[in-house]
Symmetry: C2
């Protein structure tokens, strides 16, 4: 049973200090993953303070590209450094984590469609490794490179690997309503649109609205939850908000 789990970039990094890991948060997450015993696991992490400042400095986004090789190497290098730290934390606790760098693994067509071959990732999983992907720069035909977000990776991996469960560990305990309460389940975007501020077009931008939109499109049930609920999710529970 394949589980795709994303650790939000702002969960594992100090959001306001560039290129700085939140060591306690990363240790807690790695402890929960190691203790869970879940084996068919594919991990993704976001960029947090490693990805976003470098991307912003070079005006690179999901749609705005660059052909500046220095920018490519700076953004990719920062994300590889964070990825190394995540893998280190996991390996120290006995989780067989190996890197899987999207910059070397996939690309976008001219219209922005992501091609990410999942056979090499499935092979890692099947050989007992835990592949760890991350937000990255990927080649984008006609635009140089653009940003591939962790959230996009979650969707591509869940579909490509036919995941049974998807978890998104964020800094908030779930999708919140106007009173700050966690919405237990979402089956329809229209029901929650008023809380998220997004439109119901497919080109919504912005964190939670885009996440909910994308996760509603998956075949697998997806949970959005906070760091304290990571162990519960890995134990088979459905903490936070269940999106299906």
């Amino acid at each position: 049973m394949t589980v795709v789990l994303k650790l939000g970039g702002s969960v594992i990094t100090e959001k306001d200090t560039p290129d700085t890991i939140d060591g306690d948060a990363l240790a807690d997450a790695a402890d929960a993953i190691a203790a869970s015993g879940v084996t068919d696991l594919v991990l993704v992490h976001g960029g947090g303070s490693f990805g976003h400042p470098h991307a912003a400095a070079h005006d690179v986004s999901r749609t705005e590209g660059t052909q500046d090789v220095a920018a490519v190497r700076e953004i990719h290098g920062a994300m590889r450094e964070l990825n190394d730290a995540v893998c280190d934390g996991l390996v120290e606790r006995g989780v067989p984590a190996v890197p899987h760098h999207p910059h070397s693994a996939g690309h976008r067509d001219a219209d922005g469609t992501l091609s990410l071959p999942t056979d090499p990732i499935a092979a890692k999983r099947d050989e007992g490794f835990v592949p760890v992907l991350h937000g990255d720069v990927v080649t984008h035909i006609g635009s140089g490179v653009t940003i591939l977000s962790g959230d996009e990776l979650v969707v591509a991996l869940a579909e490509g690997l036919s995941a049974e469960r998807v978890g998104v560990c964020s800094t908030v305990p779930g999708v919140l309503d106007d009173d700050g309460e966690v919405i237990p389940a979402i089956e329809n975007y229209a029901d929650v649109r008023r809380y998220l501020g997004g439109s119901d077009d497919t080109d919504v931008t912005g964190g939670m609205a885009a996440k909910v939109h994308a996760l509603l499109g998956l075949r697998a049930p997806a949970s959005v939850f906070g760091p304290d609920a990571l162990a519960d999710f890995l134990g088979g529970e459905q903490p936070g908000t269940l999106i299906r």
Copy 2:
């Protein structure tokens, strides 16, 4: 016109000192590449003193695998370090080199057949970057990971990218006969078998015999030459031994 060029690991590293770059040789190679003006270039480098000692320490080869995640990360990490140095040397000279790590890009089936999607590599080339691949560990179904050599990559890239020219820059000035003279051209393995010591089976092992065997199978002409002839090769000449 796509050119696939391999820089031998023993050309750019100090062969007898683990994890040590031959800075002068790397600078010379980077100078020649930068001065050539060749743009549709895909580079490969071998492991030299970064790859082989770590692979040997963990008894990993093309056919003998490991599932030890520490071994995987050690070998891959050393090769990534060498790759960073190669990319640095190129970028400093204005060549838009970007890493392409085989561990994240491909895998082997149970029978050892390599699957290496070349669309992401072609995308980098088409966007004006020079992808730089390297010998690496790749997932091997049933065996954990095994070694993917630079020579195997040259073959996979030449075919997958329909390269017009292939160059293998080695420490020797070409394929040598028993008198130590460069054989100018090879069109048939049987003609040179007596110099190479290999069999004419497809499973030959050993450096030059395996190289010649593999390069004879390519549609593109391939040249095997020494570091001093790199500029000539990139200028369109056919130094050393031409294999077609």
